[in-house]
């Protein structure tokens, strides 16, 4: 547990960054995890192929919400080209924890929303 709920994760869960909505986002994508009920709406503003603003709204477990907060913080300023190559490892590195197969779905939901929202890719586990 101490491994799963490390300080940084609790901090992002309790004080999420970029939580809310953008004025006229270029991309809005809702995704959810029906098994546990985590929900994420991801909003992005894109200029010249670069993410200039990002926000999320949602509800769910600490892992999914902290992952969304950390991811939005990280992707601002990055090019879509770079983000397209993001995988599960990049998210786990952000979270800095080992995660079992059940909770992995929670952790990867924001990435799944990003990939589906920007490129229409449905399987972000790869």
């Amino acid at each position: 547990m101490d491994a799963l709920y490390r300080e940084a994760i609790l901090d992002h869960y309790k004080y999420p960054r970029h939580k809310g909505h953008l004025d006229s986002p270029d991309i809005t994508h809702f995704d959810h995890n029906p098994f546990c009920g985590d929900e994420i709406t991801l909003e992005l503003k894109i200029e010249d192929g670069v993410v200039t603003q990002a926000a999320f709204d949602g509800r769910g477990c600490a892992i999914s919400q902290a992952s969304a907060s950390m991811m939005t913080e990280e992707i601002i300023g990055k090019s879509l080209e770079e983000l397209k190559g993001w995988s599960k490892e990049d998210i786990l590195e952000l979270l800095g924890i080992e995660i079992g197969p059940v909770r992995l779905k929670c952790a990867l939901l924001p990435l799944k929303a990003l990939k589906a929202g920007v490129w229409g890719i449905e399987d972000a586990d790869a």
Binding site: M1, C36, G37
Partner: protein, 407 residues
Amino acid sequence: MRSIEAIRADFPILQREINGAPLVYLDNAATSQKPLAVLRAMDDYYRLHNANVHRGVHTLSEEATALYEGARGRIARFINAPSSKQIIFTRNATEAVNLVAYSWGMATLKPGDEVLITQMEHHANVVPWQLITQRTGATLRYVPLDAQGTLRLDLLDTLLTERTKLFAFVAMSNVLGAINPTAELVARAHSVGALALVDGAQSVPHLPVDVQQLNCDFLVFSGHKMCGPTGSGVLYGRRDLLEAMPPFMGGGDMIREVRLEGSRWNTLPWKFEAGTPAIAEIIGLGAAVDYLADLGMDWVAQREHELVRAATERLSRVEGLRILGPGIEQRGGVVAFTLGEIHPHDIAAILDADGVAIRAGHHCAQPIHDFYGIPASARASFAFYNTFEEIDRLVLALDKVHAVLGM
């Protein structure tokens, strides 16, 4: 009566430590733990008697058949079935519902017919009926819930009509803990000429169940929730119905005669048991019902009632905790709850760090969670071997959830 310590000593797994703390196992509605008597019965079978059943004339095969069929007799007595021919072995309760849906349902249901289920069903008693009513053109209806998390029985008069061919309902909900008035609901179904299927997955392990007193047409349950092994399940059915129903699956054991132009079915119960069954598991289930019968199901029900009474009292004092389902008088040993806005997965993960095993999710009963407008809940579910100290450990661990995740 034996002491709780002595009873706990029958269950080797209860000695385990999880994350450095003694295991507190409160996920009994998902599956129960297994006593030594069950483990030994299966071990003995494999060590001493292993052979296929109903086949050979050699000694081992006769021994295996006697053990397997002996279990059937014990299970028949456990639920007071008139005959062991009415005990059909399946893998689990889910397969037993599917057997009735595909065999009886496909042969019987027509457009205009109705199947009535309830909003508190486990998916095992929802999805087969969705599939079969879609295929047959029959209509599926639901008895909704009221604010207490009990069935809207006031609507039964309008929902049960001469169009209703089957009323399939759960005797005890695996989420709400609600114990339904089973015999009364069976009688209501019969009064319009409908059959009654009772999902006993939670009632048979925890309450005395007598099929003749309930007068139900079908009863399904799973061995693994009642101290038995996984892979062992039961369909009890009324004899004339089972005789008339076509086979569910075809293969060896379920036939009397196979010719290229067609086959003749075996008699009950084997007509519904195609292929080599889960022999060791059924023998294990026979040992499990002996174990429960020795404890006495009245005692089991009483003990679990005391545990759940203490648990609901203690839990209702935890800040932000909301219990789903009815009051203690209508509740079996299940307490599902929410804790403020904290997600049930987080609750279960933090409890696990203290060795407390509970379940988080929708517990295969999404329609109940839709009713409450929540995606998931946390659930503590009890067995007779749980203790009042374990309830203290649960409450302490929940305080920790507040400390870790509280805002």
